[in-house]
């Protein structure tokens, strides 16, 4: 998984297209370079929520993402496997409590994703002028 992410990041940081034909094909290339892991709505909601909170419990994340326990577990696990999210299990009194937080790699990936979206919009605006 980490190797896949590395490949995606390398593709993302490749030199920008220089020829007219390459520029015309830029949106398609950018789509291919999108961080697919982040692009999914539930995973994007998890990462976004964690970007503005130091840590969130499973229950809080479930309320924010408005998804089921099973779905949240699956998506959180994928983000954890990719190294974007860290998970801490503990107890709140006698109740088990799972807390999630964004790792540095996750924060960087989120920023890159935002930059990517903005670049696509800027590119489209530039073409329409």
């Amino acid at each position: 998984m980490a190797a896949k992410r590395g490949a995606a990041l390398r593709a993302d940081t490749a030199d920008p297209p220089r020829t007219t034909q390459a520029r015309a094909a830029a949106p398609a290339t950018r789509a291919a370079n999108l961080d697919r892991l982040m692009h999914d709505r539930t995973r994007l909601a998890i990462v976004t929520a964690l970007s503005v909170n130091a840590a969130l419990s499973f229950t809080e994340l479930k309320a924010i993402t408005q998804t089921t326990d099973g779905n949240l577990s699956v998506h959180a696990r994928k983000l954890e496997d990719a190294g974007y999210v860290s998970c801490t299990k503990g107890f709140d009194g006698r109740m088990p409590k799972t807390e999630f937080s964004l790792t540095d790699a996750g924060r960087r990936a989120f920023k890159k994703y935002l930059d990517h979206m903005e670049a696509i919009i800027q590119h489209a605006r530039g073409k329409s002028r």
Binding site: A24, P27, A45, A49, V52, N53, E118, I120, H123, S128
Partner: protein, 202 residues
Amino acid sequence: MYDQPVTDRRAGVALNERAIESLEFIRTTMARSAPFTAVSGRAGVVMGALALIAAVAARSAQSDEQWLAIWFGCASIAVPVGLAMMRVKARRYELALWSAAGRRFAQGFLPAIVAGAVLTFALVRADALDLVPAAWLLLYGAGVLAGSSSSVPVLAWLGALFMALGGAAAFTPPDLRDIWLAAGFGVLQIGFGLYIARHHGG
């Protein structure tokens, strides 16, 4: 743009629309997941502006009754405006105004406000109008400070500063009462309102 094949142009437009959708999704998710506040920063700015107008008007009041009527008039406009703007903000971000955090905020904030109202009538009856600005500032600050534990942390600073102004108002000449009220309900509300609007979604 037109030197591209039609399919490429369509792909570009679709991708652009999806990117805009994604950013919009991120924006609303951020607003929903940021520490709870339906406290409207814009309402704070509007209420602060009303307080500044009231302070200027109150400076030229001919009697204590007129002075009190001006400030009560200001409150009777500012409170409904503030509540309405909180509802608008809560609806915009799909926040439950009466969520657990919202109820905790009200439980912290409202007792001090009720105490302030009761104390105002008591002070007016006792002919101690000079102490009314201090009571308003101190109790409003205490309410905000108590409510801040279940809202955004910056409200704690707002509450503490209101209380400091209230303390100053209690021990300075009565001539300065409108200055203290303008500094608290005007300047502080506008300043913190702008901060909340900028950092906590409006």
